[in-house]
């Protein structure tokens, strides 16, 4: 009983694109999983269990696709577990997988998340038809735009903050070979001049629709120690947390959700973090629309309420700032929805392993991965470190 230590010993992801027409869904998840296994220097036979997550099954038109993917994931004769917690699913899938190691049930767990958005039209899959909900919005942007307008009014934030976030994330993506978008010609003005989709969200401040997958091998302390001894630095999990709150409640604050704040407080408590702004070296935060960066900076305790936009304006969240955010290019540059949360968690782990390549933050020792979903109501976070907790 109690929690054993757990280490990230292997990470893999696909090349994310609008359409991965070269592979089936099985090929897509297999690509990410095989890369994670290669990174961990383990074989399929070494894996004890597989935990897979993705967003709604309607995105591909396959009901409970893990059943069809069982053999592609090397799960024959093993436990195969499917998580679905809306947009936070990539994060919560990682946490469910980590718990199997923490509980001492398994030694090495492969966790995978994917979305093949090109199989369908996610915007309409996200637009609930009558009778379930009134037809007030089209897609996630229509849902979140009022939250952003409320943030801008409350924080008295200047109009250009969203543009600065988009410019930073898309520029970071130029350093990430896996990113979906590589916009070499992007400028402040090209973003500003792009089409206004859901005021104040412009086209260039919106996440793309991507095909992609991410995978990690999570392992016991003994396996993590072996990896470290062999020079393959693991990322140690220092804390994990999930919180959920209602979609509709008069008590909710969708700009600063209590569930998000409690999730952050819990994961910091586990990791012994009392001053996240100073102690955390970098963070990968789920930002599907540019303005969510300052909003989540406040929700996660990196800035006081109303002050998050100042970190953006001051360049603190740039790759060379004192709190780099979304070094990979973030959700704004790659968005295979079901995998987007796990990509955040994986990037945090890559940073503390010193394995983030051109988007590496110098000396990153402690990093935060964050995912959210639903109507800003499902939250999943982890803190990973270069040192053992």
């Amino acid at each position: 009983m109690g929690k054993d230590r757990v280490a990230v010993v292997g990470i893999g992801q696909t090349e994310h694109q609008a359409t991965r027409g070269d592979v089936s869904m099985a090929g897509l998840v297999r690509e990410a999983a095989a890369r994670a296994l290669a990174d961990a220097e383990v074989s399929w036979a070494d894996i004890d269990a597989v935990v897979i997550g993705k967003a709604p099954d309607f995105f591909e038109g396959v009901m409970m696709p893990e059943l069809y993917l069982a053999d592609a994931l090397g799960a024959s004769g093993k436990p195969l577990f499917r998580v679905h917690t809306a947009g936070s699913v990539g994060g919560s899938t990682s946490i469910v997988a980590a718990q199997l190691v923490q509980a001492g049930i398994h030694e090495r767990v492969l966790t995978v998340a994917f979305e093949k958005q090109s199989e369908s039209e996610a915007m309409w899959a996200l637009s609930m038809p009558i009778p379930f909900q009134p037809p007030l919005h089209a897609g996630a942007g229509g849902y979140f735009a009022p939250h952003i307008r409320s943030y801008i009014r409350r924080a008295q934030a200047p109009d250009h903050i969203g543009i600065l976030v988009a410019l930073k994330d898309r520029t970071n993506a130029l350093r990430n070979p896996h990113a979906h978008l590589h916009e070499h010609d992007i400028t402040f003005h090209s973003i500003k001049d792009s089409l206004m989709l859901w005021d104040p969200i412009r086209y260039a401040e919106t996440c793309p629709s991507s095909d992609g997958a991410c995978a990690m091998v999570l392992a016991s302390e003994a396996v993590g120690d072996e990896a470290a001894a062999a020079g393959r630095t693991p990322a140690w999990v220092h804390g994990t947390a999930m919180r959920s709150e209602p979609t509709m409640s008069a008590d909710r604050d969708t700009v600063l959700p209590l569930g998000g704040a409690q999730c952050a407080a819990e994961v910091y408590r586990q990791a012994g973090i009392t001053d996240p702004r100073r102690q955390v070296d970098c963070a990968e935060i789920y930002v599907p629309f540019s303005w969510f960066e300052p909003m989540w900076l406040e929700n996660l305790g990196f800035a006081e309420p109303g002050q998050g936009w100042r970190l953006v304006e001051d360049g603190a969240t740039a790759l060379d700032g004192d709190l780099p955010v979304n070094m990979s290019g973030g959700v704004l540059s790659s968005n295979p929805i079901g995998a987007s949360g796990m990509l955040r968690f994986a990037e945090a782990a890559m940073q503390v392993r010193g394995a983030a390549g051109e988007h590496q933050v110098d000396g990153a020792r402690l990093a935060v991965g964050h995912a959210y979903g639903g109507g800003s109501q499902f939250f999943a976070m982890w803190v990973v470190g270069a040192d053992k907790p």
């Binding site: 009983m1 109690g2 069982a70 577990f81 499917r82 809306a86 509980a103 001492g104 049930i105 909710r252």
Partner: protein
Amino acid sequence: MKRDVAVISFAQSAHVRAVDSENEVEMLMPVVGDVLGAIDMTMDDIGFTCSGSTDYLAGQAFSFVMILDGVGPWPPIQESHVEMDGAWALYEAWVKLQLGEIDTALVYCCARASAGDLPMVLTRQLDPYTAGPLWPDSISLAALQARALIDAGKATEADMAEVAARSRRAALDNPVAQLAWDRPAGELLTEDHLVAPLRRHDCPPISDGVAAVALAAGDAAGDRCRRPAWISGIDHRVEPIHLGLRDLTESRSTRLAAERAGVHDGPLDVAELHAPFTHQELILRDALGLDATTAVNPSGGALAANPMMTAGLVRIGEVASHIHDGTANRGVAHATSGPCLQQNLVCVLEGDGAGGRRR
């Protein structure tokens, strides 16, 4: 060393062909009220909530989200959801309880198959590039498995009719069963095939229904429940979906899960098997090594009511209820998912004194 975790409460709705006048939230909330009320608890006493359901029954993306709203996750809660039967939601909750940070969990699941044409909906589970476009319905796939079993000499149509007759007769004593009757097996065999070699009596009903379970760890279980049903072992395994890759006449994944769950570590008073089709009970009995000393599916099993995503959790709840009321001391529950018993979960439950609780 595993932490002792027990099922301390179980509730389910009546299972019916179609709930027309209620949505999933309206179906679920009375059952959540029952499962917590029986142990004098409220949502405020629950450390972790986990649910199982699938959007393909509801016909709506994120269908679990509105159901969670009904449960009332405020202030914010620790919660998760699986696109699986509630039995696997229980597994996630059991893992969470192992970590020692919380002592109680609520597990619930919901199914409203009546919203669509279930055998056609289930074809969407198949390989979308090869099998799916052929729309092979779930009854026809089960018939292939039954044919393989008969051709292998492992069962006859008469054996299958005996399962049907015994299950529906047992269901007469189950107040929430959808399908219950008393007819001799010989009479059943005079009917025409539905999809040969399956007759209508070999197939499960299509059901709408919900269920919920409360779990507690250690002393918290005894505080709320006079006779907790301790989970002495739980494991689940999957096989490839492709029917041509498996020997359909046996269930290797069930056999493996049973070994890991310690099914054979003691005598079994009762078994609740999630066998939607009669021949599948025969396959599962073999995989679990059950003999005549174990009462199989006293509830009538999935042949009496088969709410998708729920029938597996109901099996665990039924065995737990036998332990709660002292009519059994040790039992096994089984849940399945996917075509032709592709994925299987096995859970062993024991009362105090059955030797399973490690202290």
